[in-house]
């Protein structure tokens, strides 16, 4: 069992940015002869050496299939894999291990819920509520479900700052609403949604809520009990862990009431052609050989975050974000997209007369990696009548100096295009 450090002690640990940067080998890469300035963290984060080393030692020392083996390697691998489930449970303060389902990523998690919850609870004429700022992975699975079931997808609109219009949300909930599925932090606008309030409103009408925490889990403390969310999803690769692993948290009673998603090994108790009995949670939703390597390394990623303290990460990143936001928004002819009061992690913008794709190319010349495009949120682009934006998104290893380099590079864009 992990030793609990009280919050004050956590706060008092210093945030040693030089040491942290040293933990990420890729930051020493040169891109076009310049040091990499990695500002594409919302797409995927870089990995600390401890995570990389864990994968290496896993394959060099204990690689084995898990759950069904009596031999030593299989036992070791099983123990390490299941240890991650416990780390995740503690990190988000879930009630028990049955509530932590390993998936391929956020997209897989949401599809699991859309399929399984949908099969059980969504009927013709029912309604699902999402928002206009959802990632495609929190839109398309519901569209597919609604098409199949003849149900309806309702959309909470956003205002010009990129904030949800809560009054409209309240009007959308009816007796037909079966689920509200909402992003915690928008990956294209940076908006932090008032999910606690959203959940309260839904619960007052007995509607469960799914929270897409893909852009939240890496930036601030999440407590599923305090939020009282019914489902919560995130991707390992956006929280300093490997690709190919994600988490679906669900309240136990809800998960128990849902039918399995995929069929295969591990998710069954017994199989025969006359009668197959499904396994209990969490195995019921984990068919087939899991991503063992990534599951184990995800635990190491959480160890890493815990060694710094998520509150310290939040404080550091908030300071960095405020610095960047002020300086970037001060750039002449730069138009920010998404100006919500509560923001985290992401600054989206366009430059007058320059296509974001060209901005991306020019910044890349200076080693600055940003993302340009619709960020898998085309309804947001439509809302602001844009084909694309340029997006700077932060990780715990970014610095103010890097922000300055990016700003210099953004100014260069005008030199080229005038």
């Amino acid at each position: 069992m992990a030793i609990e450090i009280d919050n004050n002690e956590k706060k008092n640990r210093t945030f040693d940015i030089d040491k942290i940067r040293n933990d990420f080998p890729i930051l020493k890469q040169l891109i076009n002869g310049k040091p990499l300035v990695y500002f594409d963290n919302a797409a995927t984060t870089q990995k600390p050496l401890s995570v990389i080393n864990k994968i290496e030692s896993y394959y060099k020392e204990i690689n084995s299939n898990i759950h069904r083996g009596v031999h030593t390697l299989s036992q070791r691998a099983t123990v390490e894999y299941e240890a991650t489930r416990e780390k995740v449970m503690r990190f988000i303060n879930a009630e028990n291990l049955s509530e932590i389902i390993f998936t391929k990523g956020t997209t897989d998690s949401i599809n699991l819920v859309a399929s399984s919850f949908g099969k059980k609870f969504v009927k013709e004429g029912d309604e699902i509520i999402v928002s206009q700022m959802e990632h495609h992975s929190n839109i398309v699975p519901w569209q597919m479900l609604c098409e199949e079931k003849n149900a309806h997808l309702k959309v909470i609109p956003i205002n010009d700052s990129g904030e949800l219009i809560i009054e409209e949300y309240e009007k959308l909930i009816t007796e037909k609403t079966k689920l509200v599925s909402i992003v915690y932090v928008s990956n294209s606008l940076g908006t932090i949604n008032p999910v606690k309030e959203i959940i309260k409103i839904a619960h007052s009408k007995n509607v469960p809520v799914l929270i897409d925490a893909a852009q939240a889990i890496q930036h601030f403390k999440i407590d599923v009990k305090e939020l009282d969310c019914d489902f919560l999803c995130f991707s390992g690769h956006k929280v300093y862990g490997p690709t190919g692993i994600g988490v679906l948290y669900g309240k136990q009673a809800l998960l128990e009431s849902m039918p399995p998603y995929q069929g295969g090994g591990d998710m069954i108790r017994s199989v025969s052609f006359s009668k197959t009995v499904y396994n209990s949670l969490p195995a019921k939703f984990e068919a087939g050989t899991p991503n063992i390597e990534a599951g184990i390394a995800l635990g190491t990623a959480f160890d890493y975050i815990n060694s710094i303290g998520i509150e310290n990460i939040f404080d550091y990143e908030t300071d960095l974000f405020n610095y960047a936001n002020e300086k970037i928004l001060a750039i002449d002819k730069l138009i920010p997209i998404g100006t919500a009061k509560n923001k985290s992690g992401t600054i989206s913008f366009i430059l007058d007369g320059v296509h974001p794709h060209d901005i991306g190319t020019i910044l890349d010349f200076d080693g600055v990696a940003i993302r340009t495009g619709h960020h898998c949120t085309q309804p947001v682009m439509e809302r602001f009548n844009l084909p694309a934006t340029a997006r700077i998104s932060f990780g715990l290893y970014n610095t103010k100096e890097e922000v300055d380099i990016a700003i210099k590079s953004i100014k260069k864009v005008f030199e080229v295009f005038i």
Binding site: N32, G353, V354, H355, P356, H357, D358, T361, I362, F365, D366, T372, G373, H374, M381, P387, A388, K412, E415, V416, F417
Partner: protein, 150 residues
């Protein structure tokens, strides 16, 4: 400014980006296609009027990055008056150039004004931008409605 950067964003390209030629919907056309590049959200509509195998008129509308827009613009200026076969040949040379497979000075010369795009070969991610208009033109001529480059 960075040298390589200037090689990609040559003055001609920036000029066509700012003042695209034939940027309109033809009132009289017999071929049309829409082109998408989902990578950057580029979207280009191409209108073509072909009579007796001669490209009488060609235009485009849409939005995209400087490379795709200027490529579309330059394409329209070059194709006017050419036969379908000539257009095909030009695109082939062009494609060879931007994918970095051109090795004879002669063909570069043949490409004429299009040679301003030779910097693209250093930017694999931009090849699709430069070729989007051409692919869309091809689709229009073949009476395919949409084309995507990915």
């Amino acid at each position: 400014m960075n040298l390589d950067l200037r090689e990609l964003y040559q003055q001609v390209i920036l000029d066509h980006n700012k003042n695209p030629r034939n940027f309109k919907i033809l009132t009289n056309y017999n071929h049309f296609a829409e082109g998408y590049n989902p990578l950057c959200g580029d979207k280009i509509d191409i209108y073509v009027l072909i009579e007796s195998n001669i490209i009488k008129d060609v235009s485009f509308v849409g939005n995209g990055c400087a490379i795709s827009k200027s490529s579309a613009s330059l394409m329209t200026t070059i194709l006017k008056g050419k036969t379908e076969e000539e257009a095909k040949q030009i695109f082939e040379n062009f494609h060879v150039m931007i994918t970095g497979k051109l090795n004879e000075e002669k063909s570069l010369e043949e490409l004429g004004k299009l040679a301003v795009f030779q910097g693209v070969k250093e930017f694999p991610a931009r090849v699709k931008c430069a070729s989007l208009a051409w692919h869309t033109f091809n689709a229009a001529v073949k009476n395919e409605k949409t084309v995507t480059t990915e």
